[in-house]
Symmetry: C2
Subunit: 275 residues, 2 copies
Amino acid sequence: MKNRVAFQGERGAFSEIAAIKYFGPFIKPVLCKTFGEIFWKVNNKEADYGILPIENSQTGGINEAHDLLLHEKLFAVGEVKLKVEHCLITKDEIDFKLIEKVYSHPQALAQCEGFLSKNLPHCQIIPVYDTAGSVKMIKGLKESNVAAIASNWAAELYVLKIIKKGIQDNKHNYTRFLVLSPEVSTDPKCNKTSIIFAVVSRPGALYKCLKEFALRDINLTRLESRPSKQKPWEYIFYTDFEKGLFEQSAQETLEQLKKHTTFVKVIGTYYSEME
Amino acid sequence: MKNRVAFQGERGAFSEIAAIKYFGPFIKPVLCKTFGEIFWKVNNKEADYGILPIENSQTGGINEAHDLLLHEKLFAVGEVKLKVEHCLITKDEIDFKLIEKVYSHPQALAQCEGFLSKNLPHCQIIPVYDTAGSVKMIKGLKESNVAAIASNWAAELYVLKIIKKGIQDNKHNYTRFLVLSPEVSTDPKCNKTSIIFAVVSRPGALYKCLKEFALRDINLTRLESRPSKQKPWEYIFYTDFEKGLFEQSAQETLEQLKKHTTFVKVIGTYYSEME
């Protein structure tokens, strides 16, 4: 059974919750220190799949994840959209006033900034590498006047107390993850495809690329430019479109794109619940 | 004379170098702790202009700067493309082997990761809020076995030693800055315009927007989607195009864009040296 799933962070990470949402509860977590390690472990058959956060509804695209998709060889075969709900977690049920230090990942701290400055203005805020890691960390500390910010799943796994749920400032805080595999998906249910392309340097080249989609009534759900890193101020484009890779109109579009691009890379095709 | 320029960071910051490149040596630096403070100080007449880093050729768009351009009222009236050259700076001329701690901004540390792991593998790496601030900081420390990573200009200002220049891993490391002012530029030399727009939610709407540019032979130099933050997975687009705002074809394009967009905001128009 292929159920070893590689993700970045400790047990209880939001990536693990995304993996469970996609695969169900019986996954074998393969813990990675970095996003790069996810690719390495799947490529080296230490994991069957990887889970990679790709963008957040508040903060936008995750740069490092995009760079890895460009250079590495895995395919996206699934998508998970996860609501990110942060919890304030302590060792015992204590009053806010008694908390002196709050640990979490800088992104999580930033997403809860309003809550922290209103309710815990006296606290020292300490950034650590991982949300779930901050829970594991406070469990190991001798002091009890410490708190971590992470998922409710992390609190459950490390058997600590949640003293406040949903402390993120924006209630519509979602992260989108891609499920990665060494093989491209041929599932006929696939209705979305992600590609990367670079346009030839001629005026209107990008417009001509988008025309190929428009001519075939294919809707783009995302178009994001990123520096090419080969030459300053040259860009490559990450695009998601609403069509399975092996449908005829998608194949035609990709064929026509070659005329206006210097390269096209298929990141993968997968099923997406359309809003 | 309007020469008070607000930027984020301490004296010697790369933003200050960008300001000097644009305005010449006789600026009065107005130091800001955050990007938001740049807008506040210019709006409140504590500075005449602001300098805001907007994208890096390696790491891409700077999220916080983009959010501020969307919500705040200043106009971009100039552009600076600055080569970012990091230096290893110490208090005395000491051997690499004697350095025990290296301080700098996380972005700078990331850009010099290869150099650090090759030449200073034994060192403790300590992130601080600002590159120039890390130089100011080590100057105030008692120990001499400490180093900072910042511009050569920062080393000069704080009268410390540069023991190695150009330590960034990628030699083509550029940052693009915008010069901000309360007034839109009417200089006839302006040849580039930056706008933000949101498309109506109809298939092909983005394509129709780009068509308006293509029809008038206006080249887009950048197109970047960012989350709208109003609704998950809705995007707004940041676009730069090669045409002065008050040229007829630009005015026509903006007029036509209204058909396919829910809003269009002009960030500014300025002169850009075209590659």
